[in-house]
Subunit: 288 residues, 2 copies
Amino acid sequence: MALDAWVNESLYPAWGQRFRVKRWLARAESAFQDIAIFESETHGRVLMLDGVVQITEADEFVYQEMIVHVPLLAHGAAERVLIIGAGDGGVLHRVLAHRTVSRAVMVEIDGEVIRLARAFLPDIGGTAWEDPRAEVIVGDGIAYVREAPDASFDVMIVDSTDPIGVGEVLFTDAFYAEAARVLSAHGVVVNQCGVPFMQGEELAETSRRRQRFFPHVGAYVAAVPTYVGGFMTLGWAAKESPLAAHTPAEIRARAEAAGILGKTRYWTPEIHTGAFHLPPYIAALLPP
Amino acid sequence: MALDAWVNESLYPAWGQRFRVKRWLARAESAFQDIAIFESETHGRVLMLDGVVQITEADEFVYQEMIVHVPLLAHGAAERVLIIGAGDGGVLHRVLAHRTVSRAVMVEIDGEVIRLARAFLPDIGGTAWEDPRAEVIVGDGIAYVREAPDASFDVMIVDSTDPIGVGEVLFTDAFYAEAARVLSAHGVVVNQCGVPFMQGEELAETSRRRQRFFPHVGAYVAAVPTYVGGFMTLGWAAKESPLAAHTPAEIRARAEAAGILGKTRYWTPEIHTGAFHLPPYIAALLPP
């Protein structure tokens, strides 16, 4: 990827999106990956890792709201949240918007992502970095969960890259086994599972893996503008009951108690409950 | 657009998708537009008009199922269907899949689109072209509705390009006034309203226009992989009652009677009813 006027996303070799660049802001080769931040003409500032779009200022709300509000409100009493990845701070920001959350630990392996995001994408993390309920750790997510006490978190959010490169260990049996152990009795883990129209195997494979360690697994969908290719999926696994077992009215009441009702641009109680209804072409990728 | 190995969609000047071309199949300058059909490496064959993706073999099912099954099943007793545009034959194909439909008239202004689609995208229209219930007219959609008798159709589907170039007249007051007249008492019109994350004004403007001639207007969403940019919207207008007033069970029974249940890859009764719940960033574009 050269410092050109156009940036072509390199996620898929023969199809993808491209952005016209207004201005380059940062470019770094960290110990883990190639980090690029630029200002686009159409989507505000854009963060790419190894040539793949992670976040844009214009549409980050879709992904963040759906990866955070759905598991926290489906759980219903989530106080302790563990975030793996999400170095831009956006997930942490949305988690802490729930006044019901007492502690949020974020473990990001690449300190350079945090440093550059705080410098060039300050609105994504917002005030989350200084929140007294937040603990930000630069380190290996899988090592962190291995050392964490049993039942020490209610919800775990895995906001990783696709299962290539640095994010690969977050899609392994070893990781899910530890995830099940560190989650409390009603615990829930959610992880991004890619765009099944293009990457169907990612959802299929991680669903099979999660099923080995959790009695309930499934997925829900979100239409994220710059995760191009139709719906992306967020895979979930739960220790006690399916994540989808709520009415919009129940979810609405929980959102009100958490203080997020009316403050979202994509998530609503109805979108929340509707997102568990998968199109057949996606449902076919899940275990029976 | 040159006959290159990569085709960049030109819908938006500073963002968009690109396809790697395996083989060029057809290229023509009709009286109305530039028509291109190529075989992509990722999405099967692709039809572009004036540089904008209209359909790909790989994901056409999403758009066709949602623009056809939703209005026909929400209407509940649709026998006579008028299709404007959709020269590739895909909408006609899905309409005729409803055994409850007795007549489908398709009016496409550009005979070259029909000719090239039948030659190079034969699976899109399938057997629809020879169906005795079908009447395919090469002509001006607005002229057709102007001359059609009052109350002569139950459902109208406007599968146009965006409101630029040849499709522009299908977004005018004159068109919607005639649409209201030719629809029967319970009549419904649906038209594609673009991707609101990128083209918000298209949904806002056509909703305002439809509201002048119909008591009920709204929109529903579909995540079409190659209409990149998050949800696309299908705007609806109805003469008698809102399109969303059904339970999944009611829609399921109608789909069974129509003979389409279990034959879809995106549409389900739950996706049907859920699609009317709009994310706030889209709902904000509709009239109050």
